[in-house]
């Protein structure tokens, strides 16, 4: 997915097709560009893509539901107001979003609006298993997969099922599950490469 696909006024003619139009397939950076120009549709697509990912980051960093909701709300409010400051030359959209979410969580802790402490806000303690930006990007990329590919990947990697078990669960031939898994992994890899620029 390349930014050029939505260059110029072409995207504006497809804003009404949020889930199926070109804007729904736009790269993250292009969505931020459209948001900066006031596109609510782009904002909604960005939420659909990153909402759960940002909320997950906030939950893991803050630990409590209320604080995570506030931090997520704060993050997307900042995105709406400051989308124009995103510079793709300085990093990925996922990294930019992650930084905003991390700051929103830290602000909540500093203002004493959550039960968490600043100690939990270090990347080492909150996201010690992996690169948190990649985790965020992965969760966002998952939302862009066709549902048929997404469900086999979720069952296999989040619920730790074998492909045989996934095939039984979904009542699909094993070969179909393997095909969808392979296709989904390749598609995710491509999305993540785009994310990393």
């Amino acid at each position: 997915m390349k930014v050029e696909r939505l260059a110029g006024g072409q995207a504006a003619t497809h804003f009404d097709r949020i889930t199926e139009g070109p804007l729904a397939e736009a790269a993250d950076g292009e969505l931020l560009k459209q948001i900066a120009s006031g596109s609510e549709e782009a904002f909604q697509i960005l939420w659909n893509r990153f909402g759960a990912a940002v909320y997950t980051v906030c939950r893991r960093r803050l630990g409590d539901v209320g604080g995570a909701e506030d931090a997520t709300q704060e993050t997307f409010t900042s995105v709406w107001r400051r989308a124009g400051t995103f510079d793709p030359a300085r990093g990925s959209a996922a990294g930019w979003l992650y930084a905003i979410a991390r700051n929103a969580a830290a602000q909540l802790v500093r203002r004493g609006q959550t039960g968490s402490t600043l100690a939990v806000l270090s990347d080492q303690t909150a996201d010690q298993e992996h690169d948190p930006v990649m985790g965020l990007a992965l969760h966002a990329a998952l939302t862009r997969l066709p549902p048929t590919e997404r469900e086999v990947l979720e069952l296999a990697y989040f619920d730790d099922m074998t492909q045989t078990r996934v095939a039984e669960r979904l009542r699909l031939p094993l070969g179909t599950v393997k095909t969808r898994t392979r296709s989904g992994l390749h598609r995710l890899a491509r999305y993540l490469e785009d994310t990393q620029g």
Binding site: G51, Y55, T72, L185
Partner: protein, 170 residues
């Protein structure tokens, strides 16, 4: 990034958490204007509830003040030692005025009914009748004509208007 890397990343990252529906609604309203946070909303609700409570309290106090009994005169009626009554007379309210009568130790258990009379009226006017408790005491509030005099009040047993148990000092 190759599929193997993605597999490892999927295993490490775990399933994303589903944000609550109210959060989605709240976020998607952001472009339409600033919204107060959830905590701010709660603060507003609590402040509104507190303000409503204060208003209700002030209203109750105001009503109490407006309807409070404020005597303009107090008449003491005396009788046998230890027995007395005080009649507090309020300001006129239309053609009548309120009166609060406090009776203490009036022939405990001796009578069924007593009567309060204004002897300054011609003919004497019975203002009210009442009963006492086992100790001969009671407190009652009643209305008397605003034009009636309270200069000479007596308490008599029922139907014995010439037998004064208590009488105001003249």
């Amino acid at each position: 990034m190759n599929p193997d890397d993605v597999e490892n990343l999927l295993r490490r990252s775990g399933r994303p958490l589903e944000p609550p529906a109210r959060l989605r609604r709240s976020v998607l309203r952001v472009p339409r204007g600033p919204l107060p946070s959830r905590r701010t909303l709660w603060r507003v609700r609590i402040a509104a509830a507190a303000a409503a409570l204060v208003l209700v309290t002030l209203g109750v106090v105001a009503v109490q003040q407006l309807t409070a009994f404020r005597p303009v005169a107090a008449v003491t009626l005396v009788g046998p030692p230890g027995t007395k009554a005080v009649a507090e007379v309020g300001p006129p309210s239309g053609p009548n005025r309120p009166v609060r009568l406090v009776v203490q130790h009036l022939q405990a258990g001796g009578q069924s009914y007593y009567e309060l009379w204004s002897l300054a009226e011609r003919p004497p006017m019975m203002l009210t009748s009442f009963m006492t408790d086992a100790s001969g005491s009671c407190t009652l509030t009643f209305s008397m004509p605003a034009s009636a005099s309270w200069n000479d009040l007596v308490v008599t047993p029922q139907d014995q208007s010439s037998s004064y148990l208590l009488r105001s000092s003249r």
